[in-house]
Symmetry: C2
Subunit: 355 residues, 2 copies
């Protein structure tokens, strides 16, 4: 049997650009999907070739587990930054949101909104980074969609991802579950993602050795849940947009508690501290993409912390304070100089387009 | 207990506009989510308030069913058109992609990419339309995300939706399953969505009574599967971007078959025919958002067609031809004038930003 070639010639991935035809749903769309997306993401689910994927059901679901679903849009600017790009970020961000529910991430969907004129070489680089991140995480992109908007109506490439996962029976992790007395643990140094992205902004460009911490945290979460007594990990969240300061306020509000953290214990690289000083930014509000904060029952804190430190993504994990009873739901911080200050919500927008 | 107000004043939904703060993940983001999104989509899953939703598992999954996942990005321009808007379209598009797998749609995620300066009144209108469509379809939006890009880097509002559903045990519908001899059925008149959107384009604006056919087709699919002998519905697909002509070519390619359709039997409103003539467009390539095409085993065609016609969304359903053996995978059409022509893939882009 000879296979007929459906396209006259392959895409010019080196010099070509996205044009409106690539979003029209016809032959050009199909060629883009086959030569860029399907080739990179290659898996049995995508190979079904339908407008959706039919997926096997994991054993945990049949044993009393629940489904988890989470989504995230990615608009980071620039698309490529030290330590990562929008492609791997889109995988990590959604894998992490699913993992923060105490779930095992299973499948991803990816929706691309491309701007006319976007270089195919950049698209290929983004898609391959995304595919590598998905493979490394063990969470395949099983279905996708591509749309194209006219030049000036987009910004190169936006990616919206949705993740589906399964929470095993008995796991109950959530933003409303932090309790007074819980120990707050952060999984590592804060502020790297935001600083790495900022360092590439046209208006700012500065020299830094800082690279984004973007990473998939689901195996770290699994390691924590494995050692903790059932129900002892109350809350997990990744402090992305808005940083640790905003995340702690979100949790305080949701769980109706206060927090008291100790500035001196918050892990931070000296270069991040220096960059924040230079730019007049508070590292508490800088985005992270490979860190989590946990509220753990005090009797389980040591064993959970030890498990985190034994994991490559938790080597610098540290206790940073505790959850306290507080009807005002204030997040307070003991400063390095011995004072105490309120860590308020982020209200302004110091860092647009960070993820 | 008195509830403390967290915001100084409510959003000015009448005159306000999206600004970069609404995408920063801080207090302004939370206010937007609570006063616009959560209020409209209101359901128990969103009320969990986490970065994802924990969801119950449907009985069909436990009884040997499989999961289905599908996603779609929506960039339609203009955002509001006769018969619908980007909000309801985003629900219908993804519900339909899930339904075309023979699945019962369960849950939706929604990721919004908003442009700085987008009127809050327009956002509210879009979100309320989306919420109404989700309620009507019985498929809740369980999790979401909002990002904001600078003015000139987006186009008002893009929405990416992902749907999760369940295929009951024994159902095997797919684009690769059309078989020579199958009867091709279309569920109603074609071309309305594309013509309705085009009629609103600044450059074209013309008077038409045509409104978009945007609709959720999952109950129509359920009605078809209910009456058909097991396994008799081989293929279902909604001919959206690229229209019926492109969809039939996709299926021919995927199933490795040919198609022979009869022009005179394809249902079409006279106004759509007139508009297409006026604009020099072929209705076979015009997008639909509330129609499906099915390949059904010949012995089941009558009963399936009858069930479709008994459903409000299938009243104009018609046989339009059949699947034939053809190693070239051509889609051919018997014209009204007695000739035969090849219905080729859409290759150019007559209609950008249609969904």
């Amino acid at each position: 049997m000879t296979v007929k070639k459906d396209y006259v010639r392959p895409l010019d991935v080196k010099n070509g650009r996205i044009d409106m035809n690539h979003g029209a749903g016809g032959r050009a769309s199909m060629q883009l999907i086959e030569e860029v997306f399907a080739r990179a993401f290659d898996n049995d689910f995508l190979r079904q070739g339908n407008d959706g994927a039919t997926l096997p059901v994991p054993a945990e679901l049949l044993e009393g587990g629940r489904l988890v679903m989470s989504c995230d849009g990615h608009i980071v600017s620039p698309l490529f930054f030290p330590g990562g790009d929008i492609g791997c970020l889109a995988v990590h961000g959604t894998v992490n949101d699913v993992a923060m529910m105490g779930a095992r991430p299973l499948y991803l969907s990816a929706s691309f909104i491309l701007e006319e004129g976007f270089p195919l070489a950049d698209l290929k680089r983004v898609v391959e980074s995304m595919a590598a991140a998905a493979r490394e995480a063990g969470v395949p992109v099983v279905t996708g969609d591509t749309k194209v908007v006219e030049q000036g109506k987009g910004d190169g490439c936006f990616i919206a991802t949705t993740g589906v996962g399964v929470v095993p029976r008995g796991v109950a992790v959530g933003g409303a579950n932090a309790k007074a007395g819980d120990v707050l643990i952060v999984s590592g140094t804060i502020g790297e993602h935001g600083v790495a992205v900022l360092s590439q902004r046209e208006s700012l460009e500065f020299e830094t050795a800082i690279v984004s911490d973007t990473a998939a945290l689901h195996t770290l979460v699994a390691a924590m849940l494995r050692v903790a007594p059932p129900g002892a990990v109350h809350m997990l969240r990744d402090p992305t947009r808005g940083g640790l300061g905003t995340t702690l306020n979100e949790i305080a509000r949701q769980s109706n508690v206060g927090m008291l953290i100790d500035e001196a214990t918050i892990p931070m690289r000296p270069q991040v501290e220096a960059a924040c000083e230079l730019l007049g930014l508070d590292p508490l509000y800088i985005a992270n993409e490979g860190k989590l904060v946990a509220a753990v029952a005090p009797e389980a804190a040591d064993v959970v912390l030890a498990a985190m430190r034994a994991h490559p993504l938790g080597a610098n994990a540290a206790r940073i304070g505790s959850v306290v009873a507080d009807e005002h739901r204030f997040v307070q911080m003991q400063t390095r100089f011995g004072g105490r200050r309120i860590v308020d919500w982020l209200s302004g927008e110091p860092l647009p387009r960070i993820c």
